[in-house]
Symmetry: C2
Subunit: 285 residues, 2 copies
Amino acid sequence: MQQVSRNKTFGGDIIKYEFVSKSLGGLTTQMNVFIPPNASDSAKVPVLYYLAGLSSTEDNGAQKGNFFASAAQEGIAIVFPDTSPRGANIPGEDDAYDFGTSAGFYLNSTKAPWSEHYRMFDLVTKEIPEVLVTSSLPIDVKRASIMGHSMGGHGALVSYLKTAEGTYRSASAFAPISHPTQSPWGTKAFDGYLSGGVEEGKAWDASLLLAKRSAKATHIYVDCGTADQFYQSGQIQPERLVEAAKEAGVQDSVLLNMREGYDHSYFFVSTFGADHVRWHAKFLQ
Amino acid sequence: MQQVSRNKTFGGDIIKYEFVSKSLGGLTTQMNVFIPPNASDSAKVPVLYYLAGLSSTEDNGAQKGNFFASAAQEGIAIVFPDTSPRGANIPGEDDAYDFGTSAGFYLNSTKAPWSEHYRMFDLVTKEIPEVLVTSSLPIDVKRASIMGHSMGGHGALVSYLKTAEGTYRSASAFAPISHPTQSPWGTKAFDGYLSGGVEEGKAWDASLLLAKRSAKATHIYVDCGTADQFYQSGQIQPERLVEAAKEAGVQDSVLLNMREGYDHSYFFVSTFGADHVRWHAKFLQ
């Protein structure tokens, strides 16, 4: 893991790293890590992952999310992975904002030629925690939670629901793609990345996973703006999560806030960024 | 004034406008305006201007500055002008990051061909307040303060010191170019934009203006990081402001905070953004 840059912020540090990823078939990937000011080898801090949305990188949440004031106060590290492999050189990879580069959908592709590199789920849920453990960073990777925006909200919920209970203590999302087998973004991604198409995509659909949830504890927090154009066009469908929780008999486990007048932008995310960090802090400490 | 976009944030709105600017010789310019949630026609709010640095636009401070949580609480509007004219089509205009496009230096050019369009001082100090008065926005333009970053810090200090006392109640800056007649950025700009070169530039140098200050009240607040590469290379020189205030006999009027380990980026600006808004609020209310 090589340090690319380091900037002091809110008393802590935001550090950009790059490393060769085995999950991504040997491509180099970058991530940002915020270390709060109180962290040390003798006082390791818990970690909150932030997964960004379509057309983003590891920088959007770090620069615009408004997470660091609260993370510094709460003593929580935040890790910002990239949104896809870079430089796989697959024909068509850069043709659309919602497929290929910057649109990895946080799944493991099973369809050639994408399956060699597009394995963001393994990167986020396995490889990055392993990389953090072997680093000298003062992070206790066993205390982890996850959040994300839009495609990254989907990624956060799916990472939470597909891993062993306790891998992440809590999950939150800003305008997540909550039912991707029934949304245009999701069906395009599943058709392209998965050999079994949308049918195989059911295993990557947060609402379908939640409806079958049998874990003892489930903690999900979602914000979505009523003026969000992608909410209005049916890409987001956060209410489906509430229905799925009812089906699973864990209706108290999903808290959905519809936010009057807010849209899909980081002007929305930043408004509620500190709330999400503080909500996760209850589970991380 | 045409609305380009509008996003709800921190209970208020961030609105992008464009208008044809007479200061800029008929070019169209854009600005962002944050309106806090408590503003109304019967409860107009004061205004804080934010001037951005080299290679920026009206968006950098609005997206990364971390000003809105505090501005919403304090009930202050924030106006973000652009950093230069756009589309003047002057040969060489786009050749360098520190001259021409995105580098207007918040002065009125006196040297052809720049003088027809590069009149950012008039835009910021006269035309934008006039445009705001004629708009339907709930802003009381008579209660105004100004802040900025780097080149925009220079712009904020110079706008404060060159206008009639009371035009702005207070000025603050993040790593301002404090003594541009003695900095490479400043001398390049003055040589290029002013027919009298650096000698004429003395009238646009905050430290030289402050040294001759005779106004009754002066309120200047400056943050600068000790790890700022441009501070280290002599572009910023904030200590010169403190010396100038002593020369003018107004040493209590400048508060300079050297911030250990911080650099020149928005990771620095965002850390202290709320502090600046709250400091200005004392003068604006």
